[in-house]
């Protein structure tokens, strides 16, 4: 039997060290576990400071004892490599484990065990935990704002339809992949625009447009499966026929008489709100800021001095000011710049303001991509006799945009996170609605639940977006 040297554990007495160390670590974790989950203090007989630090000391010694290099045990080696490389690391690891064990019970009890979700009034919330009843009751408001309850199906239907139309790219066959860019860049935004402005907003204009939208959507979907030989005729004939059929044969007579589709109730934009408004604002800003940013970035690299300095001025101006002052400008200063009888809707002003603001950031991101391309690409394209636009559309932009996918995704993420700021002009999306609900005298004192709920929602949305952008980046990565 070799001599045991506790200051320098070695492989010769592996089992002795291992058993002692494991017992010590397990004991320390057990003490903390009992203390935090069952509120029992095993070591309360010790003086105050010592009983506080004892688990830490025990675990520390234990981890020191099991720190044996090349022990041959796979599990032990991986522990030593990952959390127990030296004394300092062992100490921090223990600290983290203890903090997690300590903070689990209060969190669990607040979120689940002592929380209330049953019932439909404040009175059921008697526990010390969260009151999810509050979220349940206000859920509609957090999602749709002040949008009339009876009309909320319009928002749901539009979002479902748009989500469905957005996934078309995954189903398109190889043959029609080349039209996808056109579809996503031009057709889809237009459809979305019509949906939101004539369906969610409602009003009399809805009527004629709706047939046009339905006809266009159906014909585009079928269009993917039509041989390209007949495509031209198809896109001229089918939408018009569909439109006429829809208007005069299928729907017109019955529905008008039944009074069902006569006109959707007009809902002013001030009543829009909640998470759906977050989506609407970020969606529109996303569509608008990308092309504006693209043109600004091209303008900044242009050879024409006037265009160049104009672009630089635009970019630097919007990047230099905080969004909140831009929104202030759009709400108090911009109306001064318009003729007296001209009025632009609040929501439209906000969307224009945020789009211009984010466009400057998008422009800088895209400029980074343009600058990263080697000069040879430009020269090669020019030597093939391509003009400015042809060169950019066919050669430069496809490569540059691929490079800047992460940057653009980050900008879009920032955009989604910036939408709550529209409270400045009195539009209440989800964070604004939370603040409104918090001040309701019936429901005072539940601010925490509301903010936690919104944080979780935003976290899910933003985290999913950032993961998706990471996937895109990996997918489009081309080796150079």
């Amino acid at each position: 039997m070799n001599k045991l040297n506790f200051l320098q554990p070695d492989k010769n007495n592996l089992n002795n060290y291992l058993y002692t160390g494991t017992i010590l670590v397990a004991l320390s974790i057990f003490i903390v576990f009992l203390n935090s989950f069952f509120n029992k203090d095993l070591i309360s007989f010790l003086p105050g400071t010592l009983s506080f630090f004892l688990p830490l000391i025990l675990g520390f010694i234990g981890l020191h004892l099991i720190r044996i290099e090349y022990s041959g045990l796979k599990f032990l080696d991986s522990i030593n490599k990952h959390i127990n490389t030296n004394n300092f690391n062992a100490f921090l690891s223990l600290l983290i484990v203890f903090v997690v064990i300590k903070s689990l019970p209060p969190l669990l009890s607040w979120f689940i065990l002592d929380a209330n979700i049953a019932g439909d009034s404040k009175d059921v919330c008697t526990g010390t935990g969260a009151c999810w009843t509050y979220i349940k009751i206000w859920f509609n408001r957090f999602m749709y704002g002040m949008y009339p309850n009876a009309e909320q199906w319009r928002i749901n239907l539009s979002f479902i339809a748009l989500a469905f139309l957005g996934t078309i790219g995954f189903f398109a066959t190889e043959k029609f992949k080349k039209y996808l860019t056109l579809y996503y860049v031009v057709i889809y935004p237009v459809i979305a625009f019509f949906f939101i402005f004539f369906f969610i907003s409602g009003g009399p204009i809805f009527f004629d447009f709706s047939y046009g939208i339905i006809a266009a959507v159906i014909s585009i979907i079928i269009g993917f499966f039509i041989p390209s030989k007949f495509k031209m005729y198809y896109f001229i004939i089918v939408p018009i026929t569909l439109y006429i059929l829809l208007k005069y044969v299928f729907f017109y007579e019955e529905l008008i008489e039944l009074g069902k589709l006569e006109a959707l109730e007009w809902v002013e934009t001030g009543a829009w709100g909640g998470l759906s408004l977050t989506f609407i604002v970020s969606f529109f800003c996303l569509i608008f800021c990308f092309p504006i940013g693209l043109f600004l970035s091209l303008g900044r690299r242009s050879d024409f001095p006037i265009i160049k300095y104009f672009s630089i001025g635009m970019i630097e101006f919007w990047r230099g000011v905080p969004l909140i002052t831009v929104l202030f400008m759009s709400s108090v200063m911009f109306p001064m710049f318009l003729p007296e009888d001209m009025f632009i809707d609040k929501l439209v002003r906000v969307i224009i303001a945020i789009s211009l603001f984010e466009a400057a950031y998008v422009a800088e991101v895209i400029r980074g991509g343009l600058q990263a391309l080697p000069r040879g690409q430009y020269d090669a394209a020019k030597s093939l006799g391509m003009g400015y636009w042809k060169m950019h559309i066919l050669v430069i932009l496809p490569q540059a945009l691929k490079l800047v996918i992460p940057g653009i995704a980050n900008t879009f993420l920032a955009l989604v996170k910036d939408t709550p700021l529209i409270f400045v002009v009195g539009l209440l999306e989800i964070v604004g609605m939370l603040n409104l609900a918090k001040t309701n005298p019936e429901w005072l004192g539940f601010a925490m639940e509301g903010y936690v709920f919104a944080s979780v929602l935003f976290f899910i949305i933003c985290y999913a977006m950032s993961k998706y952008s990471y996937n895109l980046e990996q997918k489009y990565k081309t080796e150079r």
Binding site: I96, M336, D418
Partner: protein, 381 residues
């Protein structure tokens, strides 16, 4: 010059001029209708409103220009506090992200992902309306270390009352100047004779000795004023003396620094990872100790990558501090673009001044960054 080159430029110019002309014409008409004339003369008028928290003396009898200064100083105050804490947290978390300890690494990653993906405004609201509202009332507060009081009404800390503060500041400035001379001297000596001077210990010594001398001989004197609880009414208590940090400032600084720290952490991580492995191996192979490798080889190169995006984050933090308006912290936007604008109705002037302030701040920082980048860029021969 051919027409193809001039035409697009002329068209752009024309469109821009037309838009601006349209706007300014309408603005003139609108202002005439409302009976106000464009001008910045209102800045010297009496403001007649009060501000809750200001670094300089301010009340209703002061001018709008002073209101602007109050807002600007408050913005700078919260930005500086935020920048200091964001840097500390960011650097620690960034280094933790690089650790080969699985637990530390994952904890830092969870922190970064969590705080980065939640809107800043939501975080500010969370701290202000939910977390800080759970603090005790002044009369129930347990003091921390006997002198700090964290209450629902704010954070009360002891104030230091100085006599002859200016002499103390002069002594520190003198210490800094002499340290820079010592550094120049040390570098020259090392270049010429190869002898290293213990710069660090000399600097610390100077920084300690000169202020101590100012206490002993300069007539500088400091005393601490501890906040004391005081009853206002039956159930109303407050603290007197000391410095009061209002809850708005605390929640704003907390949210700003926790949020920005995630970005700084990523900058730090990217910077250290950006130094190629070969550099470290080369440094180790010529016999530098691990500490020397870090100090002389890795850090100078990593800082070159870290500093530019970090400065950008500082700028973002400063711009984000304008969210203060949401929780009524009297910053530039709330005091000037909010209250002053409502009182005077001079939308164009006030919004333009506010924007120009932020604009000049960010442009001067970006000019400085360009200069700095050029200075530190690796000069390849």
């Amino acid at each position: 010059m051919n027409i193809k080159k001039i035409l697009p430029q002329l068209l752009t110019l024309l469109v821009v001029i037309l838009i601006f002309g349209f706007f300014s014409y309408n603005a003139q008409v609108n202002m005439e209708n409302r009976g106000i004339s464009f001008g910045y003369g209102f800045l010297s008028q009496e403001s007649s409103f009060d501000v809750q928290f200001s670094l300089i003396e301010f009340d209703g009898s002061h001018s709008y220009f002073r209101a602007y200064l109050v807002g600007l100083l408050n913005t700078i105050l919260v930005s500086v506090i935020g920048i200091i804490f964001a840097t500390i947290i960011g650097v620690v978390v960034g280094i933790a992200r690089l650790s080969n300890n699985y637990l530390i690494n994952k904890t830092a990653a969870v922190y970064v992902e969590f705080f980065r993906n939640i809107p800043l405004l939501l975080q500010i609201f969370f701290w202000y309306f939910a977390a800080l509202r759970a603090l005790p009332l002044p009369q129930d507060t347990e003091p921390m270390f006997g002198v700090f009081f964290l209450t629902i009404k704010g954070f009360f800390v002891p104030a230091i009352i100085w006599n002859n503060l200016d002499i103390f500041i002069y002594s520190i400035i003198a210490a800094i100047i002499s340290i820079s001379f010592v550094r120049i001297y040390a570098r020259k000596k090392q270049e010429n004779e190869g002898i290293q001077t213990p710069v660090l210990s000399i600097s610390i010594g100077l920084l300690l000795i000169l202020p101590i001398l100012s206490f002993l001989f300069g007539g500088v004197d400091a005393s601490v004023e501890v906040p004391v609880i005081k009853q206002l009414s039956q159930s109303g208590f407050t603290f007197e003396g000391g410095i009061k940090l209002p809850p708005e400032l605390i929640s704003l600084a907390l949210a700003l620094s926790l949020y920005t720290a995630t970005f700084i952490a990523e900058c730090v991580r990217a910077g250290v990872q950006g130094v190629s492995k070969g550099q470290k191996e080369a440094a180790a192979s010529i016999g530098l100790t691990p500490n020397q490798v870090l100090k002389l080889v890795v850090m100078p190169q990593a800082l070159r990558i870290i500093i530019p995006p970090t400065t950008n984050q500082y700028l973002n933090l400063t711009k984000n501090s304008s969210l203060a308006a949401a929780i009524a912290y009297p910053d530039l936007v709330l005091v000037f673009a909010g209250t002053a604008l409502m009182q005077t109705g001079r939308a164009i002037e006030i919004v333009s001044i506010t924007m120009l302030t932020y604009l000049s701040l960010s442009i001067s920082i970006s000019i400085f960054m360009n200069w700095y980048n050029k200075k530190i860029a690796i000069k390849e021969k």
